[in-house]
Amino acid sequence: MQAAHETTLGIDHRKLAIWVFLGSEFLFFGAFISTFLLYVDNTPEGLGVELFDIPFTSISSFVLLMSSLTMVLAHSAHVRRDMRRARLWILATALQGAVFIGGQAFEFTTFVREGMGLTTSPFSGAFFVLTGFHGAHVTIGIIMLLSLWKLIGIGRVTPMEDVKTEIVGLYWHFVDIIWIIIFTVVYQIPAG
């Protein structure tokens, strides 16, 4: 594989590429967060940040952040060629991601029930599209994790290919870091 070849920077192509791609992703979320901040008080219907349930979102945020820990443990196990533990931690990471997505689904339905839908105001549109795209990123991450879990299980990803767990991990950590920013800038500061 490519890793066996020498590269100019001494980094695997795929690892370099995922770093480069994540640089792009920061601009993607940056533009959505900027839009949200522009519209944070733009709630003609009166339904805005006061709908946020900070304790509830704190718990789901905590679960997502802890999934970064299990992701690190998964990669560490893969590096040690301990594939049984690697798969276990990968599955644990995916499960925590699923808990987070479940929390987001619950939060969205609650907001809609309380009268704030996608088209209610510039605020609601900016909120749902931003957090929705983040949720989509987490979902893609879960699919990647489950794929990795399966591919390791059938031997398509070998114990030597820890770079594959690493790049999935880099993506996963990015999704977490962006959530730290969203949770702070979108939820806590405006609501507090």
């Binding site: 594989m1 490519q2 070849h5 020498e6 590269t7 100019t8 920077l9 980094i11 192509h13 370099l16 590429a17 480069v20 791609f21 640089g23 792009s24 992703e25 601009l27 993607f28 533009a31 959505f32 839009t35 522009l38 519209y39 733009n42 003609p44 996608l118 088209t119 105001s121 510039p122 549109g125 900016a126 599209v129 795209f133 794929s147 591919l151 398509r156 070998t158 030597m160």
Partner: protein
């Protein structure tokens, strides 16, 4: 290679054809993909040119009725979109594809299948955009698509804009990740940053600009799609939204985009001028860092597109200043090109003529650009033909001249044939005259008050404006004639024998170390780089006065460097048939299969069809999984 043994692991047998027309659908060879980019972009260039001629015919007289207002709106919008997203950007990608691996001494890009994916997404995105003509009308709100106008127009026209550009953006994003990784990670041993050809420098900067600009336009386009299709109010002032949000997001993308369009041409010209001046590029480091400076400052000038939007005096002053600043690195480059030619042994070949034309015409466009940074002056010019004249001088006089120079220069490398110099010079002069006839008069028509983006202008603007418009329309037809000459040159050349010498221009960079056209593995042995302009250094030594003296005829790489031509890649270079051991990636169906899903998903959004969404999604999902399960090269299997 063990292609036959491993195919059973795929659902479809792995394609193996390296030649024949079917090989083009599955190829992952950067050279073939580069050729496909160029041909596709040329076809779109003809279409975009036809749209321009229709626009010019409509404008040749005051109150003309060649086109209706709606037809005019669709044509001028599609002309802009076509030339920006389907001609100049993919032509840049064509050169990146073909040249980056060859100039850095690599055998392919870092991710060959992702590269094929980028091409197919570009092609399907272009077809998707053009399918709008048959599905109720093409985008008609200008390439800038100012919201809330673009969100309040009836019909699906602007939905095709927002979804079509989204697809095209994905192509650019994938390509940028690929090229950045390739340039950073696949340089031949010894090729440090300061030994890279200038085209590689400019490519690296352009791809970083793409990497950071594409997500911003993606966000703006998602918001536009949500407003237009799903009823959100990102851009709806009636709901309290800010009507300037779109303009900000669009131009934060749009101004770096300008440099995305021009920097590849600057890189090409920086390769051509030294070759035909028989001198190294003057101020190599200055040119490289000026390019990087443009890449940085390019992010801080966007609001000069919005001086008339009421941003307030502080913002106008700040963006006026930053716009003046960005002229400095651009000026540095122009001086360096001039000093490269200064005192050189100039050869006025066709590529050289286009390159000099680039420097001259781009300087005019750059200077009219500086006039926009003067805010009160801009307030007079904005929305007039003066602006149209300006950006055609940088994008046609700049980008297209440079890309045409590169086309003539690398034609023998790509095809093994030399384009006719005689026809090439005829092409250049007709093109040069036609260009100036078309866009020169627009400066004056604009300063006399002719507004842009309107399908008619009144006779009350005066006879002078009418005369300038007639000249411009005539000039457009002259450009069309020059394109016919070029097309004839291509047809005539391609019918002739493959008789180009391996180094027809006495060139300086690594790509000319390979045969014309190169073998699919590019280099039998990965070259070891010891100097900037490595190929020139291998051919010429310097005497005491710094003049180039040919090294011994037939002197091989080994003798010049006094060290074995070590392969950083193969490990065991077998001189006679070394390519037997070269691992090249195998062709693949999956990039194409995956891409099929994208336009289907695009139609699903526009027509809000869950069935289409499911089909498109499944195709992408299936293509993606088949892709990741399939190894890059069959003999890589563990």
């Amino acid at each position: 290679m063990a292609t036959a043994t491993a195919t059973s692991r795929s659902i479809l047998a792995r394609p193996t054809a390296e030649t024949g027309w079917t090989s083009w659908f599955t190829t992952v060879d950067h050279k073939k993909i580069g050729i496909m980019y160029a041909i596709t972009a040329f076809v779109f260039f003809l279409i975009g040119g036809l749209e321009a001629i229709l626009v010019r015919l409509q404008l040749s007289e005051p109150n003309a009725t060649v086109l209706t207002a709606e037809q005019y709106n669709q044509l001028f919008t599609m002309h802009g979109l076509t030339m920006v997203f389907l001609v100049v950007m993919p032509m840049g990608a064509a050169f990146f594809n073909y040249l980056i691996p060859l100039q850095i001494g690599a055998r392919d890009v870092a991710f060959p299948r992702l590269n094929a994916f980028s091409y197919w997404v570009f092609l399907f995105g272009g077809l998707f955009l053009y399918s709008s003509f048959f599905l109720g009308g093409a985008p008609n709100g200008g390439w800038f698509a100012y919201a809330p106008l673009s969100t309040s127009m009836p019909g699906n026209n602007m939905a095709f804009y927002s979804v079509g550009l989204q697809i095209l953006g994905l192509s650019s994003l994938a390509a940028s990740v690929n090229f950045i990784t390739t340039i950073l990670n696949m340089r031949a041993p010894g090729m440090t940053f300061m030994r890279m050809p200038m085209f590689i420098w400019m490519s690296l900067i352009v791809n970083f600009l793409l990497l950071f600009a594409m997500p911003v336009i993606a966000v703006a386009l998602f918001q536009l799609t949500f407003d237009g299709v799903f009823g959100t109010s990102f851009f709806n002032p009636a709901a309290g939204a800010d009507p300037l949000l779109w303009q900000h997001l669009f131009w934060i993308f749009g101004h770096p985009e300008v440099y995305i369009l021009i920097l590849p041409a600057m890189g090409i010209v920086s390769e051509i001028l030294p070759v035909f001046s028989r001198k190294p590029l003057f101020g190599y480091a200055a040119v490289a860092f000026a390019g990087a400076a443009i890449g940085f400052i390019g992010w801080g000038v966007w609001a000069h597109h919005m001086f008339a939007a009421g941003l307030g005096p502080v913002a106008r002053a700040a963006f006026g200043l930053s716009t003046m600043f960005i002229a400095v690195p651009t000026g540095i480059k122009i001086f360096n090109w001039v000093f490269t030619m200064w005192g050189g042994k100039l050869r006025f070949t066709t590529p050289m003529l286009f390159a000099i034309g680039f420097v001259a015409m781009f300087t005019i466009g750059g200077l009219s650009g500086v006039t926009h940074s003067v805010v009160p002056h801009d307030a007079q010019q904005t929305d007039t033909y003066y602006v149209v004249a300006h950006f055609h001088y940088v994008l046609f006089g700049g980008a297209l001249f440079g890309l045409m120079a590169g086309t003539y220069y690398w034609w023998p490398k790509v095809t093994g044939r030399m384009l006719s110099e005689k026809l090439g010079k005829v092409h250049f002069w007709i093109w040069f005259i036609g260009f100036n006839l078309t866009f020169g008069p627009m400066h004056f028509a604009g300063l006399l008050g002719q507004p842009r983006r309107t399908y008619q202008y009144g006779p009350e603007l005066g006879d002078t404006v009418t005369i300038w418009n007639r000249i411009a329309t005539f000039g457009a037809l002259v450009i069309a004639l020059s394109v016919l000459v070029f097309t004839w040159n291509v047809i005539k050349t391609q019918r002739g024998p493959k008789d180009a010498p391996d180094d027809p221009w006495d060139a300086r960079t690594l790509e000319w170390l390979t045969s014309n056209p190169p073998a699919h593995y590019n280099f039998e042995e990965i070259p070891v780089v010891t100097h900037r302009d490595e190929f020139w250094y291998r051919k010429y030594a310097e005497d005491a006065e710094g003049r180039a003296v040919p090294r011994q005829a037939g002197g091989s790489t080994t003798e010049v460097q006094g060290q074995p031509p070590a392969g950083g890649d193969t490990g065991d270079p077998d001189h006679g048939d070394g390519h037997e051991h070269i691992h090249m990636p195998n062709p693949s169906y999956w990039p194409l299969v995956m891409t099929f899903g994208l336009p289907i998903a695009g139609y699903a959004v526009i027509y809000r069809s869950l069935v289409l969404a499911a089909i498109g999604g499944l195709l992408m999902f299936f293509g993606f999984y088949a892709w990741i399960i399939e190894p890059v090269a069959e003999d890589d299997a563990h």
